[in-house]
Symmetry: C2
Subunit: 275 residues, 2 copies
Amino acid sequence: MKFRRSERLIDMTNYLLDHPRQLVPLTFFADRYDSAKSSISEDLAIVKETFEQRGIGTLQTVPGAAGGVKFFVKVSREKAEPFVNELCQLIANPERLLPGGYLYLTDILGDPQIVQKAGRIIASAYADTKIDVVMTVATKGIPLAYAVASQLNVPVVIVRRDSKVTEGPTVSINYVSGSAKRIQTMVLSKKSMRQDSRVLIVDDFMKAGGTVMGMISMLEEFNSQLAGIAVLVEDEKIQERLVDEYLSLVQLADVDVKEKKISVQAGNYFNIWRG
Amino acid sequence: MKFRRSERLIDMTNYLLDHPRQLVPLTFFADRYDSAKSSISEDLAIVKETFEQRGIGTLQTVPGAAGGVKFFVKVSREKAEPFVNELCQLIANPERLLPGGYLYLTDILGDPQIVQKAGRIIASAYADTKIDVVMTVATKGIPLAYAVASQLNVPVVIVRRDSKVTEGPTVSINYVSGSAKRIQTMVLSKKSMRQDSRVLIVDDFMKAGGTVMGMISMLEEFNSQLAGIAVLVEDEKIQERLVDEYLSLVQLADVDVKEKKISVQAGNYFNIWRG
């Protein structure tokens, strides 16, 4: 059965969105739609142009016999900025204040639409970075880590506070939480990460960065390398940050418990990444 | 700027996939592409036909002045069955065996591609069910819960074993774990769920169903109703299951620790849901 161009474009769009960073040979589409490779090339040119114009992403063409196309998510600044601004407004709601100056963010982290958008924006910044795995720590970072990983087409590994029987043998390390200066433990299943992986650390919230530093120590135990750090919210009031290079979407500038005022601004994302 | 049909189809496909179960008025697309409503209607007819033919989902047309279209994910049986069979093969790998007859599934649950496909298949079964929220328990169920929730366009609430300061006030209940018959506690942040919600419970693994029963008791504390139960893997060897109605993608038929043999088969999904 032959497919019309319109049908091909719809199905191709769905297929490419679903298989980011994967090389799809032209012959795959040619067979799928029983169409000439020349028609597929034309289709892909239209998809690429539209993806770029609409701030969805881009297609990279790999030439040659083993060639094809790869889809990379690239949320345009035009689309990312309003989203981050909305997120700032959401977070600045004084009803989020909890005793001790903590913020209730569970509803935001529980909204798949928000988490997926944030994940796409973060993944956009790593389009040109080689990443083998996304690492996070249980439990709040997990949704964002998956949202990023699904766009980077890599697995997620989850560091835990305690080992579980269903994880098999684990590696355990101690680290000092940056703000409270307490010694804590984190464990990672030995099977869950290959040696020599390039790792993007993703978390929901970073204060001084103690937990992130813990994850970096964990990388050493797996002979693996840090490829990047990305957080949804960073606490900007921190005097001494343990971590230098990271991406944040939102910065918590100040929390005034007495006045019930939360000051929030866009994170360093737009300064660092000039998509 | 006018958009050509090909560009509209690509962008519409992306938009609809990204906004499942949301009513999108025809005027939204007409404005977005500066096109006549009649052209948009034709576009949507093509999208609908292609989505249905390719086993992606369907578009529901809501007539009238306040009308529009809604996208529902509906993975066809043709696409779901090979995926579930692959999943069975993956799980049957004897290297997964851990001491005590537990199975190592962390790699499968850590693969966003697998989790998203499973999430779409589960969500397909609830296309016609009113669901306000997806509930799961920390931590292994979280990725699948998000994958399902993102297709149902509802938030995720995460029940925990212990309360955290960043969750605010919590409701705590005791429950009896079905297999080990131990009394355990689970907590849920009070803010995280509205009263009178219709709740789909999603988890990675179900043995006797004690944890699921615990979540059902939790629903009562929130005056909420059970809308469904879906798990990735169920343990079939259980004598007395506490839960009757549930969907499973995979059934663990037998684990022979001595012979290092894991017997796995497709779950009840295809018997129950005749997509």
